[in-house]
Assembly symmetry: C2
Homo-oligomer: 367 residues x 2
């Protein structure tokens, strides 16, 4: 947990036990989160890789500070709105891993660049020109990494040759510095991305363009050594909390999951087949992540087999000890990142003890 | 649009054209929304059915006020947090269609009941006892409707006999008044629910229990006359905005959809197969609603075939006029209700003209 005075959790008349909280609400176990953070920082230190955690998962200043205190080199954000919240709180080393376009983004990027160490990605020349205009406006050069599509089929230049071409383009812009390569690989694509990076680095060196940073990301593969030799920086987000999709993929255990949703059983029809919880898609999201059900009840492992906006349904057939009306249960969400983004506040807990309520500072910062 | 001085949209240096807005952002066309509202109110007036719109879709005080101004008998909310926001704004006839449990809900319900006309649902005796305690605490009786499962297989008593039993139970609670029957039918279940209601009303009358209100809901079936004879009140939410799922179901046209998401093309890889938009699951949600894709691009009808939290992907193969990098597009979301719930603000527009930005007052009020 953060050490600064101003980071002390808001008590806001929070009860002492989770079972006295209003529902639905995310429970964030700080011991589990701290353990996840420490373990990963230790590994980065051992590997000699810069840890640049992605704050899109927690969206909280307190956790970004804690990541930095443990040794992170800076933070990663997906949107300028997230960067603004973090910068306002004094966090000044920011990597924006999203192509920025439009006059609003230019103005906001310029304002951020004036007072912070900001770097961004680009995968096309138009984006570079926009960032250059912002840098020019800020009166400070901005570092740009070339985003590479190393198999993820989302954004990114498509080949090492294209990466070289864009790096040269960046190098020619008066207010930009080419700072390296970045990818967001899908699980299992690390070797593939290492090959892409290797070829690109060779081309860059031939051209006299130094490539200081090679940045990869993704929680599922962070414990694999495969293809890490060339990597200088790792961006992971979900590792702080973990979730059902990571447990299901064999990347962690349920005990490594820091966030559950506390919900109340509000209905148990006499049909005897189901119960209803007060958590639906406005609490759990509809993210399936290739799983069955929209989350699981922690004790029983039973899936939330259907949900509407405020209702979640559990099948209680052959479940003699099923919870009763008015009981509370804890749900493990499929995908924790968009879940946290639905809540203004989460409860910080240690086991069943409530430490306080904490604001999700950058919730909804989608621009 | 609302008429009161304090309802004037916040201009907040909003640009005059949608193409000058920062993205992603929901565009809410007030002419389309007003037309949707007026058309439905006229129909309710003709049918002699009380219109009690569900504000879970728009979550905005201004639209609740407009619904009341047009003739709505009161509003419907799913959660107490929504009721609190509306009550604070002076909207005092509130129907909470969700079983309420726990000491927090009791205290909050009591506070609301003191100053407002609140009615709630229940489908089990435990819930009734909780509401009774709140009413007792408030010093004012609370009206309770029995929620009936007429085929939706969510909450609700399972038979007319159970409904009678619960109505009697409510009638016996010192601080509760039995006020009628309520259901949330799935599309196509109106006749089925009318049968359930008919049998229950018969049983209630036999028992000397008057059933003042028979409340049904759901936007998809609101234009059907089937099974409406017994209904005294209609709760619809989505009808104010409509969405892709309603267009797809044949319940409205794309021109009846008031909300689109404005997004920017941020990447167009040289592979030539796709482009990336700056709107992902944190803007569009992952709600599929049995459709393919996570929304469609309005002009082309092309689906957002994949998304991550901040990226949405469009297939551009065989699309010679596909938008270019930096261009903006409008996306029609699958399910508008959880989309609005993701944003702090929406842009109120008339066609391509921006009127101002408006807060989503009850966003995230999930408790």
């Amino acid at each position: 947990m953060p050490q600064h005075e101003d980071d002390i959790v808001e008590l806001k008349s929070a009860p002492s036990s989770i079972w006295e909280l209003d529902t639905p609400i995310p429970l964030l176990d700080v011991d589990v989160a701290n353990r996840n953070l420490a373990r990963w920082q230790t590994r980065c230190d051992e590997l000699g890789i810069a840890n640049r955690p992605h704050i899109k998962t927690h969206k909280m200043v307190r956790w970004a500070r804690e990541q930095l205190r443990l040794g992170a080199a800076g933070i990663t954000v997906q949107k300028l709105g997230e960067a603004e919240v973090m910068a306002q709180a004094g966090i000044s080393d920011l990597f924006v891993t999203f192509n920025l376009f439009g006059s609003h983004k230019q103005r906001r990027l310029a304002a951020l660049a004036r007072r912070n160490s900001i770097r961004v990605v680009a995968d096309n020349p138009e984006c570079c020109q926009q960032v250059n205009a912002a840098a020019d406006h800020a009166g400070r050069n901005i570092n740009v990494l070339v985003e590479c599509d190393t198999g993820g089929k989302r954004n990114g230049v498509q080949s090492p040759l294209e990466a070289l071409e864009l790096a040269r383009f960046i190098d020619r812009q008066p207010a930009l510095e080419f700072a390296g390569l970045m990818t967001f690989p899908l699980p299992g694509q690390r070797l593939q991305s290492a090959e892409f990076f290797g070829s690109t680095k060779f081309l860059l060196e031939e051209s006299g363009l130094p490539c200081h940073t090679v940045s990869t990301g993704g929680t599922p593969d962070m414990w694999s050594d495969e293809g890490l030799d060339i990597v200088t920086e790792y961006r992971a987000g979900t590792y702080i909390f973990n979730d059902r999709s990571l447990v299901d993929g064999g990347h962690c255990s349920a005990g490594d999951c820091a966030v559950t949703i506390l919900a109340t059983v509000v209905s148990k029809p006499s049909s005897g087949d189901r119960l209803t919880l007060d958590a639906g898609s406005k609490s759990l999201t509809s993210d399936l992540r290739n799983l069955r059900g929209f989350g699981i009840e922690l004790e029983s492992g039973r899936q939330v087999y259907a949900l509407s906006e405020e209702h979640g349904l559990l099948d209680i057939r052959d479940w003699p000890s099923a919870p009763e009306i008015g009981d509370m249960v804890r749900l493990l969400p499929n995908h924790v990142c968009p879940v946290i983004n639905l809540f203004d506040e989460v409860a910080l807990v240690q086991g069943e003890r409530v430490l306080g309520l904490a604001r999700v500072d950058a919730r909804g910062k989608v621009q």
